[in-house]
Symmetry: C2
Subunit: 340 residues, 2 copies
């Protein structure tokens, strides 16, 4: 299996990306194509001491870089020679089986839609990160690809999320919940009320009803369905609140010699908690609904997170979840080339 | 000053409500009117050993109770003889200067709008809790009263929140931020884009632009402006995530004798953190835009939280923030008796 990776996406590119790829090539049994400027990649590989592993990878040479602050639409226009755009084209043309980037999420979403294209019947792709909960993990679908949504889009976000969680993450009959301001079916605005009805009536979907945001951290459902605005709010507030509180606990432990001693006594358990709540554990976000596996790694991913992400990309490409979504959505009303 | 309180609102009514009122009567220099069934209140006061304080309060007798699961609109119809409805009518008629309830938030919002009525020019009231941050505290305006909003409503939520934070909470030139999926002015849906323009152009408002949810816990702004759906999501996810993580830390401390010892060593600091993050510290939520001060106490408030809330109600009623909002909104396009 060949995975194409964006060599110049993310805060730590290309160094940590190359380091992660070097580990993946040696340990994961995958072939890697790195998209980016060939000379710069080679120089970086030498600097990082992974030249031998680098020569086992292919390079898809392209001169440009799409930055975090670039407009999402630039992936189709002024940044069409960037490593992200070139990588997306390569996977669309079958030069690899999956694409992964730690770069600009918005551009990756646009590129997945317009370059890789959607599975036939998919109205919109969903940005779908898997996050740690107090109980295990859960997915948000959609966490930011679509700030404005219709009820039938929310239905598809739930359906695609459910297939992914079952096929890739091994969750049996995933519990799908709709983020809402109350648990009763009539709660929320018309978008929520109508989506509730569609989700409830969808055959084969284990819809558990509305989920209140306060229950999300406890893992009350496996797939948290939301419009992209709400899902993005949940994603960012969840990360921010967890970091803020962990930071406050850390401050307590640094406050005095006595407190430092107390911290040392429970060091192992604190590290366990830190690992439990590390959003790199689950490797990032799938762009659900794209016709090929497309993945967003965390923007600040370092080499171990890159390697973890590539393992996930390998496993889920092997699971053929895209084919399963294609089967589930066959007969949908919106075609692969739908333009909105 | 006389404060009218809902004797039968909240999870711990009437016992904890009466206990908190008894402390307030003795310590805060306020007069209290308790709305509720007179016989039941008296029996409860005897049982709790606060009969003497109870006889210093007035009772607004009413037979019925509006429950947490009742429809918000019931405060105007089938539950119009409830303690909440009777209390709201009493404050509207000037029998007291402010009203506080730990009961059904939705019903309180409807009652504030339809019974107490709005300040002239206010389009919609906002449910506006003050919450602890890592730096101090912040307000969400609106945190759930209006699931569907127009841009000019978001402008008013920001304006009313700013006045409250300055007049009542003592924040100079409060920083007002709009919850959005990115910091740039063009981010988000048309509601956010248009609200951004209105907030930016509002004279005297210290609008600091869009705020991403991950920055909310760090206290990057004093007034977090949102539509009620988003604001409610922020409120509930923030509380839920904080509780979940504190719960995980607690579990670590209980795990072994060694861990218990470590916990004992930093007990005082942990209590400090717990107090910092306690949502009862700031006493609840104002219903901004109502023509008289109306307050929601936390549904699970116990006696100390009830007393704290009554202190806040006293202080903010003295601040005459409602008059200041009336002045600021004079000349608005929507009248006090507007029905929507």
């Amino acid at each position: 299996m060949r995975i194409i990776i964006d060599g110049f996406g993310g805060d730590n590119a290309p160094g940590e990306i190359l380091l992660g790829c070097a580990q993946a090539v040696e340990e994961l049994g995958v072939d890697i194509t790195v998209a980016g400027d060939k000379d710069k990649l080679l120089a970086c590989a030498k600097e990082k001491g992974v030249e031998a592993a680098f020569h086992k990878m292919e390079v898809l040479h392209c001169p440009d870089v799409l930055a975090m602050e670039d407009e999402p639409g630039s992936v189709l226009k002024e940044k069409s020679e960037s490593s992200m755009a070139a990588g997306l084209r390569a996977v669309a043309q079958g030069q690899g089986e999956a694409f992964a980037s730690a770069g600009n999420s918005g551009a990756l979403t646009v590129g997945a839609t317009m370059i890789v294209k959607r599975i036939k019947g998919v109205k919109r792709v969903a940005f779908a990160p898997v996050l740690p909960s107090a109980q295990g993990f859960f997915m948000i679908s959609d966490a930011g690809a679509n700030v404005e949504c219709r009820p039938e889009m929310l239905l598809q976000f739930g359906l695609m999320g459910s297939i992914y969680m079952e096929q890739v993450m091994g969750v049996k009959s995933p519990r799908v919940g709709l983020v809402n301001v109350g648990t009763e079916s009539h709660k929320g605005d018309p978008l929520r009320q109508n989506a509730y009805g569609l989700l409830k009536d969808c055959p084969g979907l284990n819809f558990v009803g509305n989920i209140e945001p306060r229950d999300i951290p406890y893992g009350h459902c496996d797939v948290v369905v939301a419009d992209g605005f709400t899902g993005n709010t949940v994603l960012k507030l969840y990360e921010g609140t967890a970091l803020a509180i962990v930071g406050m606990v850390k401050d307590i432990f640094k406050k005095s010699a006595k407190n430092k001693l107390a911290a040392a006594m429970i060091y192992g358990d604190l590290q366990g908690l830190k690992k439990t709540m590390d959003y790199n554990t689950y490797g990032g976000a799938a762009i659900l609904g794209a016709a090929k596996p497309v993945f967003k790694m965390h923007g600040n991913a370092k080499a171990p997170a890159v390697k973890n992400a590539l393992r996930l990309v390998r496993d889920c490409t092997q699971s053929r979840y895209v084919d399963k979504m294609r089967d589930a959505l066959a007969g949908g009303s919106a075609g692969e080339n739908e333009q909105e």
